[in-house]
């Protein structure tokens, strides 16, 4: 088997064009997919529940009414809003994958804002099954919250300014339908100054009044809100986000895992299917299995060859990517484990393709044709299709190695969790496709 392996490596070395294509093509595809991912998809679906009643959505600030409902409009320009009627319903829809995210405006948002001592808290829930879309929804919501904040800030600042003027200069203050006459620090100071003049010089009362006048002067000069209040003015609405499903992986990190999975798939499938079919095409198969190599040994040799070569190439690719993207090098051993697991599963699938087609060109065409749909199936985001169809897609993805490889690599690279489960899934696929190939090899020579 060792000699057969060396033979295959030698043949690969003598086919530089094929090897170059085999390495460069998947990497180009991987990079293109990375680019495609970073462009946001159209209007993701977001569940929305507002705890504000119509009256409660109005905040009264300094006698002016601010309607939060107007600000909501701006929040959802770029999102396909699915209105629901409770916070629990939002969470359920996110969990089921019907929507990519959910937003909850709590009942006390308006009152909190009005008290001006605490920011209003907007709650956002994400379905993190699809980091690509999650990143987009996250960005969209963040941008919209910023815009709403800016609008609120301007208005609150205006109110604050008016209040400051009122306290300083005095005037009429409208509150709860009533008019209050506000004296103002400026007039208070002049009244006090006039009063002081009527008191005898050196009297105790006159001295005390002087202190009060100094204070009003100081207060007028230094009128400002407390830090807390200013903080609220700076950011009236805060977002508290929670992930409901899977790990949390940023788009960049996810794209790295995806690129590695795609490359691993292409290289391994092509190598395993092509090299096995070539034994048949070169008519060597009957001679080999005539006591020189066992059927299982031959399959193991091809799978090992394909898995080792593709793992090495993809590891090099990750190291190369590590120069541009922040990767966690401390998890290097886990990268190797995930790559090797994925490679073996793809190799087993490649063997099945090779034994069924029994011809190099047909094998590589089938491997190629199978690759892209598998990758795209695994990437169809929840919420993009009807829930029933999504379940079918999930089931199909589970039968092929791409999705578990992606999960394993995401777990290994990004600490997204679930490496063990993904590896078990891959091991099961190795057994299934391995057994299938072994069976199909019986009619390989015919």
């Amino acid at each position: 088997m060792r000699w057969l392996l060396l033979k295959d490596l030698r043949i690969l070395r003598r086919s530089p064009l094929m090897v170059a294509l085999l390495v460069i093509y998947p990497i180009v595809i991987a990079v293109l997919i990375g680019f495609a991912l970073s462009r946001g998809p159209d209007k993701p679906k977001v569940a929305f529940y507002s705890g504000l009643s119509v009256s409660a959505s109005t905040i009264e600030l300094g006698g002016h009414n601010l309607n939060l409902a107007d600000e909501e409009g701006a929040l959802f320009r770029d999102i396909d809003v699915v209105p629901v009627d409770s916070r629990a319903a939002v969470i359920e829809k996110v969990r089921d994958g019907e929507v990519l995210a959910g937003i909850v405006i709590p009942e006390d948002l308006a009152s909190n804002l009005q008290s001006t001592l605490e920011s209003g808290k907007l709650q956002v829930f994400y379905n993190t099954e699809d980091p690509a879309k999650q990143a987009y929804v996250e960005n969209t919501i963040e941008a919209q919250v910023k815009a709403a904040n800016a609008a609120l800030t301007t208005r609150i600042a205006q109110e604050a300014l008016d209040l400051l003027n009122l306290i300083g200069d005095g005037g009429v203050y409208h509150f709860l339908g009533q008019d209050f006459n506000v004296l103002g620090l400026k007039r208070a100071e002049s009244i006090l100054t006039d009063t002081r003049a009527t008191l005898p010089a050196g009297s105790e009362k006159r001295e005390q009044l002087g202190e009060v006048i100094d204070f009003t002067e100081l207060a007028r000069d230094n009128l400002s809100f407390s830090d807390e209040v200013l903080n609220v003015v700076g950011e009236p609405i805060k977002v508290s986000a929670r992930s409901l499903d899977g790990g949390r992986t940023s788009l960049d990190d996810f794209a790295v895992a995806l690129a590695a999975s795609v490359s691993l798939m292409f290289i391994t499938l092509q190598l395993a299917a092509g090299m096995l079919a070539s034994e048949k095409e070169e008519n060597a198969f009957p001679r080999l299995v005539r006591g020189l190599v066992s059927h299982t040994g031959l399959l193991a040799e091809k799978a090992g060859l394909a898995a080792v070569c593709s793992t090495a190439v993809c590891l090099l690719m990750l190291i190369g990517l590590g120069l541009f993207v922040d990767l966690e090098w401390s998890r290097f051993a886990l990268w190797v484990v995930a790559l090797a697991g994925g490679a073996l599963a793809f190799a087993a699938l490649g063997l099945a393709i090779g034994t069924l087609t029994r011809e190099v060109r047909a094998a590589s065409l089938l491997a190629f044709m199978l690759s892209l749909p598998l990758a795209f199936l695994a990437l169809v985001p929840s919420g993009a299709v009807a829930p029933a169809l999504y379940d079918v897609i999930r089931a199909v993805s589970a039968v092929f190695p791409f999705k578990p490889t992606l999960d394993a690599l995401d777990a290994a690279l990004n600490d997204a969790g679930g490496l063990g489960g993904a590896m078990l899934h891959l091991a099961a696929l190795v057994l299934v496709f391995g057994a299938l190939s072994r069976l199909a090899l019986r009619r390989f020579a015919a």
Binding site: W3, L4, I11, E282, N283, F285, P286, R287, G291
Partner: protein, 236 residues
């Protein structure tokens, strides 16, 4: 023939492919250094017979006297790696065969096949004749007592054919039993001690070329005509 010790004997071989009977109880025996030609039209069962003798396929019925390990097999289509050189192909199979001294064995085969000056050429660049010689050399690596050749001269020009037969005759002269399939009748006439005629999986004749001529009663016609006549008389 009766003076030769029997090296290879097969009895009542039956092979079915589903409903189809590819071999209907074929027997064969060959002595040391004997040249046996298995002739018959396409689809007669020649390849099936040889691959069963080689141990590639199992017969449904019947028995064979020799272990496949002692039989060299040269398939109809050269089973060689086009991207490897002549020497690398020989070396690979010598190692897979676990021959005691692969280097010396390869040297011997290069000598025997007269391919020393092409040993560094990739097999894919060789002519059909040279490729067939490498193919045969691989069948000989394990120094088999019996060599099976399936249509060895197909696709060769007359000169290559001539050289191939020189080579095979030399092997037989050195004591190797050679069983070859062919549908090229004059070749069988010239290079066989024993003829086995297959038609539709049935052995319809076993004997020397002269005996076949006598059996057809067509002495004087050329051999190919005699053969066709013989099959016609038996309803094939």
């Amino acid at each position: 023939m009766e003076t030769l010790t029997t090296t290879l004997a097969a009895r009542d071989l039956v092979k079915r492919y589903g409903e189809r009977l590819a071999l209907r109880g074929v027997s064969l025996s060959a002595g040391r250094g004997e040249l046996v030609a298995v002739i018959g039209p396409n689809g007669a069962g020649k390849t099936t017979l040889l691959s069963i003798l080689a141990g590639i396929q199992r017969p449904d019925e019947g028995m064979i006297s020799v272990e496949p390990e002692r039989i060299g097999w040269v398939p109809q289509q050269a089973s060689l790696y086009g991207k490897l050189t002549v020497e690398e192909n020989l070396m690979l199979f010598a190692r897979l065969e676990r021959t005691p001294d692969p280097k010396a064995t390869v040297e011997r085969m290069l000598e025997l096949t007269d391919l020393r000056n092409r040993s560094g050429d990739q097999v894919g660049t060789l002519s059909g004749g040279n490729r067939q010689r490498v193919n045969i050399a691989i069948g000989l690596l394990a120094r088999p007592e019996v060599l099976l050749l399936d249509e060895p001269s197909t696709g060769l020009d007359p000169r290559q054919r001539e050289r191939l037969w020189e080579f095979i005759l030399r092997l037989a002269g050195e004591g190797t039993t050679v069983v070859y399939a062919t549908h090229h009748i004059p070749e069988a006439d010239r290079y066989a001690d024993q003829l086995i005629v297959l038609a539709d999986g049935e052995r319809v004749f076993d004997g020397s070329p002269r005996e076949l001529e006598q059996a057809t009663g067509t002495t004087g016609l050329d051999f190919e005509q005699a053969f066709v006549e013989y099959l016609r008389q038996r309803g094939h």
